[in-house]
């Protein structure tokens, strides 16, 4: 797998809600090499503080060399990144990690919560292109409120796959959790569930999959220093108490391989 370090120009800056930002970067080598579920490491500022790059899953890529990341301002790194302007260059390094394994012959169910929706857009596009029949596929998106996810829902609808929505406050779609929607949706027995979101949500999704006997792929978030297997900082426990590294072995794992103890 080839990786690249590129100076990428910010070609578009979108403020999707009060603290959610989408950046479009011109990063042709990385964009062309990225598969759904992979991530990039981005230097938020220019100096030595904050020191480390931040990992971001790739939200979308285009054939003309652009890639997008979607993030919420949660700390100093993301705050700095949210202050960057169109036309500025930032250092991007990737693509990294192992992404989703798309099962072409099986119905897909994508479940995203909050910022976990980010990698699912590229996944949805890939699924819509790789599969002959997406009539049994479904995308379930959840967020706090309409304000947080309205713009994203629109983007997902362009692939012709059924999109269902849940919000905590009921301002868009089902009033409640994505897992409520998932439970009430008839999924084919051989469906594959692809999910990303808060760990509590993913654990609930995993539990539903275990009951229904469905394969479940989860994308895990972790603090990491390098993103490429050198620092060994992003450890997760497997169910048999071994360690795996999110950057090399993931970020996408089979849900049942991991230890879930929240």
């Amino acid at each position: 797998m080839t990786q690249y370090q590129e100076k990428a120009k910010i070609t578009r800056f979108e403020q999707l809600s009060e603290n959610i930002v989408r950046l479009t970067l011109y990063s042709p080598d990385i964009a062309a090499a990225t598969k759904p579920g992979q991530f990039v490491m981005i230097k938020a500022g220019k100096g030595k503080d904050p020191l480390l790059r931040r990992p971001f899953s790739v939200h979308q890529t285009t054939s003309d060399g652009h890639l997008q990341i979607l993030f919420k301002v949660v700390g100093r790194g993301t705050d700095m990144l949210a202050r960057r302007k169109e036309g500025e260059e930032i250092s991007v390094f990737g693509p990294l990690g192992k992404g989703y394994k798309i099962e072409k012959s099986k119905p897909a169910c994508l479940v995203g919560g909050g910022l976990g929706i980010a990698p699912l857009l590229l996944l949805a596009k890939s699924i819509s292109r790789m599969k002959m029949d997406t009539s049994k596929d479904v995308i379930i998106l959840g967020g706090r409120s309409a304000d947080e996810i309205k713009a994203l829902v629109k983007d997902f609808k362009q692939f012709g796959i059924k999109v269902l929505v849940a919000t905590d406050d009921g301002s868009l779609g089902h009033h409640g959790f994505v897992t409520d929607v998932m439970k009430n949706t008839r999924l084919a027995d051989d469906s594959v569930v692809y999910t990303c979101g808060p760990e509590m949500m993913m654990m609930a999704v995993k539990n539903i999959c275990a009951i229904k006997g469905l394969q479940c792929q989860v994308s895990i978030e972790s603090v990491m220093a390098c993103g490429m297997g050198a620092c060994l900082g992003c450890t997760k426990h497997t169910k048999d108490n071994r360690y795996v590294h999110v950057c090399l072995d993931g970020p996408v794992f089979n849900a049942e391989d991991l230890k879930w103890n929240l």
Partner: protein, 314 residues
């Protein structure tokens, strides 16, 4: 930039000697920040490096500490990886083949819980082709017994050095801990023990606390601080050690530019190791070598060796 051969001279001349080991330039990658080198092969030209130092190896494989293992701090980071590694047998079987194919010196960092263990690893490595030197880690802060007693008591440091020297067929570099009262005393002890060179500093022990949860940010509670935040401390220690010993000193600590590296050489380092900076810019070591080329040309030096210990204090 390429080496230009001018008669028998190599210009610009970046060669340095670490005892009997000649490096084509003074830039090495620090143990634990560069994996087993292969991880970086697509991101830089490994052959530009002076040497590569691989992740610390113990006798048996170690799985390391529970997460969280790293946390960012002001201009630095804390880590408590816990010396996760594949163990010496798998290292030789799985990692050495690739390293043997590199046209640069490979230095193997070793660690143990007892003098016997250090000696056994050294013995196991000494027949292996392609190892240019051994770096003895007596200073990792993150594992109980993990060399820490060796790194903080002069007589123990000397004893480990003697033990490794006895079994080693290649030069021995000893990596010193900064978490001591007098690092020059430690350097003299390992010099007495027969060390061919010393490298310093390893990480400074620190901690970070999450105010909301009232818990330490690292599962291990304490960890090793690295990055630009520690550079002034490292520079001072290299300066003190270089005055105290006559063996070559290798400078480590927060180096992320050519300027940083050259400051360490002025302070007395014959070579440097790049650590945490590899995480942020995987190409940084190669960039620093290029910067040295330019510096030597721009400043009309006959060799980069002119800078070693050339600090003018008065």
């Amino acid at each position: 930039m390429e080496f230009v051969r001018n008669g028998d001279e190599i210009f610009p001349d970046l060669r340095v000697n670490i005892g009997s080991l000649e490096l084509k330039n003074p830039v090495m990658t620090a143990s634990g920040t560069f994996g087993y080198a292969r991880e970086f092969e697509n991101l830089m030209n490994l052959h530009r490096l002076g040497a590569v130092i691989v992740k610390g190896i113990s006798l048996a494989p170690r799985s390391g500490n529970p997460p969280p293992r790293i946390v960012e701090t002001a201009c630095g980071m804390l880590n408590a990886i816990g010396l996760q590694n594949v163990g010496v047998e798998r290292f030789i079987k799985e990692k050495m083949v690739y390293l043997q194919g590199l046209q640069i010196p490979v230095i193997v960092n070793i660690l143990g819980d007892s003098i016997d263990e250090y000696q056994e690893i050294t013995e196991r490595l000494s027949g292996v082709k392609g190892i240019a030197a051994i770096e003895v880690n007596i200073s990792c802060p993150n594992v109980k017994k993990g060399g820490v007693a060796f790194g903080t008591q002069a007589h123990m440091a000397k004893a480990v050095t003697e033990a490794v020297k006895m079994k080693s067929s290649v030069p021995v570099m000893v990596k010193l801990s900064p978490n001591v009262t007098d690092i020059a005393e430690m350097a003299r002890a390992v010099e007495d023990g027969g060390a061919d060179s010393v490298s310093l500093i390893n990480t400074l022990i620190g901690m970070a606390i999450d105010l909301e949860s009232r818990r330490p940010k690292l599962a291990n509670v304490i960890g090793g601080l690295s990055g630009p935040a520690i550079k002034p401390v490292a520079l001072r220690m290299v300066y003190q050690v270089a005055k105290a010993v006559s063996i070559p000193v290798i400078g480590i600590g927060g180096i992320d530019s050519t300027e940083d590296a050259l400051e360490f050489m002025l302070a007395g380092a014959s070579a440097v190791q790049i650590g945490t900076a590899n995480f942020i810019n995987p190409r940084v070591s190669e960039d620093i070598v290029e910067g040295m080329h330019r510096y030597v040309i721009d400043h009309n030096l006959s060799s980069i060796r002119e800078l070693i210990g050339a600090l003018e204090v008065k």
